[in-house]
């Protein structure tokens, strides 16, 4: 079967740079009085899950948010060191939305969907504004302007960062937005709950089965829609830079219920990590890619010297 990306016809017709604008102008809306009647389950509280739960709560939906950690702040997004890209062109070095789009498609070796990637490049600039408004302490230049660095071999400086702990600072921002909604009552937070299956009613995802990790009991949760933001599956390799709790279970159980798993062989192996030292190691540590900008990578020329 050939899959359809479900881009609406009126959006397909317009040029790439107008698609997301057109989509937002034509997508059906849900009125505030109806939002109050609808429930959404969000699984995962990393950057994607926490920001989604907070935003949906703010919009007026009733959100139930789940994490297997003891706090949303333990999500693995916290480990990201280097930074976050945004097509702001603050350094005036010729960056643009199109260039970020182009670099992302090309860097991905032409195996991603144009319309999605362009949208990503487009909203990248909004993310920085949102995070700054939340108080995320991005690095700044002497004059107070946000600083950018070059990252990952691209030709412009578009990476915003907060020392070597950008993920942590962004997660704290998203967590604060989430906490605000929790205290307002629009988000119910379930810590130490691990999702173990999706429940379908008449062909639609309408809930989950979660295990309360403290009591060991299974619990049922229902909603009108289910959102998975449960991260990647790098731990299939056992040794990886992922946290030891990262797993594929939520996504895989959805897959077993019929959701398609796309391009699973596309995995990223990061060049600069601390090497494996022995057979009983359980975790690897990443060294930020920014080191490659200044350090020189070499091996001995002759085998005898290695």
């Amino acid at each position: 079967m050939i899959l359809n990306a479900n881009i609406p016809d009126e959006v397909k017709k317009v040029p790439l740079e107008e698609k997301w604008t057109k989509y937002r102008a034509t997508v059906p809306l849900v009125a505030p009085n109806n939002k109050r009647r609808l429930e959404i389950i969000v699984v995962g509280t990393g950057l994607a899950g926490a920001s989604a739960a907070a935003s949906l709560g703010e919009l007026g939906y009733n959100v139930k948010c789940f994490t297997f950690h003891d706090s949303p702040r333990r999500a693995h997004s916290i480990a990201a060191q280097g930074g976050i890209n945004a097509a702001k062109n603050y350094t005036n070095d010729g960056d643009s939305v199109y260039r970020l789009f182009y670099d992302t498609i090309k860097g991905g070796d032409y195996r991603a969907r144009e319309a999605n990637v362009y949208r990503l490049a487009e909203v990248s600039a909004n993310i920085i504004d949102q995070a700054v408004a939340q108080g995320v302490p991005f690095a700044r230049e002497y004059g107070g302007l946000l600083e950018n660095r070059s990252f990952g071999g691209v030709q412009v400086s578009r990476t915003f960062y907060a020392r070597g702990q950008t993920g942590q600072q962004l997660l704290l921002g998203a967590y604060q937005a989430l906490s605000r909604q929790i205290s307002l009552g629009s988000v119910d937070m379930y810590n130490r709950h691990e999702m173990l299956d999706v429940v379908m009613v008449d062909g639609k995802a309408r809930g989950i089965i979660a295990r309360n990790l403290v009591t060991g009991k299974l619990e049922r949760f229902a909603a009108h829609a289910v959102v998975l933001a449960t991260g990647g599956y790098g731990n299939v390799f056992y040794l990886s830079t992922n946290a030891m709790m990262c797993n594929v279970t939520a996504a895989w159980r959805a897959h077993r219920r019929g959701a398609y798993m796309a391009n699973p062989c596309f995995t990223q192996i990061h060049p600069t990590c601390i090497p494996v030292s022995g057979d009983y190691q359980s975790k690897l540590t990443l060294m930020s890619e920014s080191l490659r900008n200044d350090g020189r990578v070499w091996v001995p020329k002759k085998k005898e010297d290695a």
Partner: protein
């Protein structure tokens, strides 16, 4: 150069026997030239015109400390070696997965009402993700995309009453979940969960890691199946299923990783081209560079599960590039 290219360069050097460290699986990341460069520049700006080498190094180390101090400290704590004085040893490691649940433009999977965001979906990074783009995608999906796109599905549900979690569908899935847990608890074998997971990881790393071949992948698929059978025969999960049980928390993901691992191998076998993080030795140029095949593989492979014993079915999403010209990547 992107991460996949840099990683493969390190692997190639080590495969040729040029690796350093006792394992032979490491390359140097050396800051001595950078320290001297920064030190000289610092000395110049401080007006020290005949600085000794020791002075230059001292000044340079300070600059490097300002830029990378926390990373150097972390390295020293883990390895016991001072990276200011000795070159660091590094080696590639698994870091991110571009694949994931298939989603459409609305970030909705093929199951209506089920959405996937961030690293969990496959959508934005193709075969290789650029640095500093993971955080961007997670927050874009959560703050700015899903809040709009979920409206498309939910607008059809405004008159649907609250879903009752006591419906038969919920009770049935809960029962299946409990049976799966009971099955794991009842095996009572002799090997730990982590020993199985570690063995699976070794198979994946050796045959479905930085470089992949038809023979290796075919053999790996068989090995994964055998290991999975052994797991269900001989794994030991202590404690009980309905109490606090951190070992059970590891057992369920391990069981799922076996199935995912096999699907990764199936997907890697199907994709007989090299692109991004997926390097098939059969598909390379004479200089050993990755060779993409845009004629036959310019598509997303989305797999449908049909039970452990059945072959998964591949669904295709063809990728059209109307706004960008396809080029081969060259970072020489």
């Amino acid at each position: 150069m992107p991460r996949d290219v840099a990683s493969r360069a390190a692997k190639t050097a080590c495969d040729e026997g040029l690796g350093v460290a006792p394992t032979g699986l490491a390359v140097y990341l050396d800051f001595s030239a950078a320290i001297k460069r920064y030190g000289q520049s610092k000395a110049n700006s401080a007006g020290i015109h005949n600085a000794s080498e020791a002075q230059i190094i001292e000044l340079g180390e300070k600059v490097v400390e300002e830029k990378y101090g926390n990373l150097f400290e972390m390295y020293e704590k883990i390895t016991g070696e001072n990276p200011y004085k000795l070159p660091m040893k590094i080696y590639p490691a698994v870091h991110y997965t571009m694949g994931g649940l298939w989603v459409d433009y609305n970030l909705e999977t093929n199951i209506p009402g089920l959405f996937a965001l961030g690293e969990c979906n496959f959508s934005d990074h193709g075969a290789n993700r650029l640095g500093a783009s993971a955080l961007m995608q997670g927050l874009a999906d959560g703050y700015f995309v899903l809040p709009y796109t979920i409206g498309k599905f939910l607008s059809g549900d405004i008159s649907t009453p609250k879903i009752d979690a006591n419906r038969a569908e919920f009770v049935a899935v809960e029962k299946e979940t409990r049976e799966r847990i009971d099955k794991l608890m009842s095996i009572g074998g002799s090997q730990s969960i982590e020993s199985f997971h570690r063995r699976l990881g070794k198979i994946m790393w050796d045959y479905c890691g930085m470089s992949r071949t038809t023979e290796g992948l075919t053999a790996a698929r068989q090995m994964i199946r055998e290991l999975r059978d052994e797991f269900y025969r001989d794994v030991f999960v202590p404690g009980k299923g309905d109490e606090f049980n951190p070992e059970l928390e590891k057992a369920q993901p391990a069981a799922d990783f076996f199935e995912l691992g096999e699907l990764m191998v199936v997907d890697a076998l199907n994709r007989n081209e090299s692109c991004g993080g997926h390097f098939r030795e059969e598909s390379q140029t004479e200089e050993g560079e990755a060779k993409r095949d845009d004629v036959n593989y310019r598509y997303v492979a989305a797999w449908e599960y049909r039970g452990w014993k059945e072959e998964p079915i591949m669904h295709r999403e063809d990728l059209d590039f109307d706004n960008i010209e396809l080029k081969s990547r060259s970072y020489k």
